[in-house]
Symmetry: C2
Subunit: 316 residues, 2 copies
């Protein structure tokens, strides 16, 4: 197999694109494809200040690398969730983000949940509503809250996340299997900042296969954490990724077609305008962030229930 562009031995063959590329052309192809997605979905303008949510994994570090190479002003934010679970998960991933940023002279903000808010994610999950909330649900809520706060306070135009095509297709299949109307209607490459106090969210890798982001990270010699988060075991996203991997094997391009057909159908008006289930937002009485809950937002209530009175989230 040879590189379609230069004829050198190919480093990767992408069956779904009928495209084989050598290392040098592949590591340029990924930024080109990313740029196309950014333009196509109107994710960001070149002059805007972006914040990249980095976890230490291949996708988010590859995204930061690509945005930097494309000339975007992109800072990073790492949220230390305090997850150890015998493998030092948070410590390892934080160190990888810090050395990635230092090697490239990039600006990384680190927010330690245990240091700032007084408890780790697993602790809060255990104490919330007598342990009824799962760590992943707590984690999502906390990350959204903190990232939105940073964007707001420091004037970032958008928050970029490393979600790749496999992530998006798996979530989409999950939402289609459960016909979760609100989630289906809201799933998109860009979530506009429709309300004051809410940051725009963008997913520049939404058309890039996970296999390709992994290959990019390896070829660019990006050191990333190989382990999945210990809490992701048995998650529905991993389950639907496996189902989709089988379909992709049977029909190369199945994942991409699935995701693009969804976006097209949505653009063409498949869903009813009222089906998003979004309700009016107001400011949380405690932290000031937008919330649909009466009084305090879910983040502030979570923390109130799970931590001792002395360790409450800082007020705005």
């Amino acid at each position: 197999m040879r590189c379609r562009i230069c004829g050198a031995p190919a480093a990767i063959n992408m069956r779904q694109h009928k495209l084989a590329l050598c290392r040098a052309h592949f590591v340029d192809w990924i930024p080109e494809q990313t740029e196309r997605a950014i333009d196509h979905y109107k994710m960001a303008d070149r002059g805007e200040k972006l914040l990249v949510a980095v976890s230490g994994g291949k996708d988010s570090l590859a995204l930061w690398d690509v945005l930097h190479r494309l000339g975007y002003a992109a800072d990073g934010v790492y949220i230390d969730l305090g997850i150890d679970e015998g493998i030092g998960y948070s410590g390892k991933s934080r160190a990888l983000c810090e050395s990635f940023a230092a090697a490239r002279g990039l600006n990384l903000q680190v927010v330690s949940v245990p240091a700032v808010y007084g408890a780790s994610i697993p602790d809060v999950a255990k104490k919330s509503m007598r342990g009824r909330r799962k760590p992943c649900s707590v984690c999502g809520l906390v990350k959204r809250h903190i990232m939105n706060r940073i964007c707001r306070e420091q004037g970032y135009a958008a928050l970029a996340t490393g979600h790749n095509l496999d992530d998006e297709a798996a979530v989409l299949l999950h939402n289609a299997m459960t016909w979760s109307g609100g989630y289906l209607v809201r799933q998109a490459p860009v979530l506009a900042a429709t309300r004051p106090g809410l940051a725009r969210k963008i997913k520049p890798f939404c058309r890039i296969y996970e296999r390709e982001t992994a290959a990019y990270a390896l070829m660019q010699k990006i050191e990333y954490i190989y382990e999945e988060c210990p809490y992701s075991e048995g998650s529905s996203t991993l389950y639907y990724k496996e189902i989709l991997n089988r379909m992709e094997e049977d029909r190369p391009g199945a994942k991409l077609q699935f995701y693009l057909a969804f976006l097209q159908a949505k653009d063409q008006g498949l869903f009813a305008p009222g089906a998003s289930g979004e309700s009016d937002l107001h400011e949380c009485a405690q932290c000031g962030q937008p919330t649909s809950a009466p009084g305090k937002c879910a983040f502030c209530r979570l923390w109130e229930n799970a931590t001792p009175p002395g360790l409450r989230p800082p007020s705005p």
Copy 2:
């Protein structure tokens, strides 16, 4: 494993319902469940004259048996498609329908496509647009045309088909994977006769697993054709059935939850009113049946292209 009702040895265990039943209670449970679906989805009233589309397979013969046992006035219609393919497929399935009807004193109408219209389905497929139409697409079109004509001419209130939950879930998954808006919006247990000249279509087995219709046919000693239609090999419905079988194995009830969640989301207004893509119908200039095509309907055009001038479909 024991029957939940009488404690006798169970003949079937339905994991998704956490229900095991003996033969006697299972063959009563199926009609009860069918009646519930008929009532719940307002498929038919007891006094209405129904037409059951029978193919000789387990689902349609089991359905006719159940409707008969429930006291519905249900005639059958068998459409002989002229499919032989070395196994005498049409001949065998026709004979099974005829002996089923004769043994129960039921009224079966037989329409032979080669005898009435001058060519078999495989022949028409080969000759249509230089073979571009596949036999399954021709078959669907021809069956819809003939069944609708019979309902119209003979005053049947509704056409009942043996589609089971596995069929419906597989078609739904296919439509969700391709995000085929019109198909998604129109898929339902009942297709109302929204236009004059169109028969109502009902699927009383839409919540019954294929495994259960097969078990019912066996326990009721219904002789049916075991072979799938030779043209169904490699069909997308069979493919998605396999995918769903895997999900069902991992999570019993997955198929049923998928289908019911879809119907609920649709009821709750997930889809935009205009997304069905339905266009206005008028009468076909040749046969008089409703069509959205200008001039003649797809059935009349198909036959015109595929058969010699002497063998044209009869005019109304």
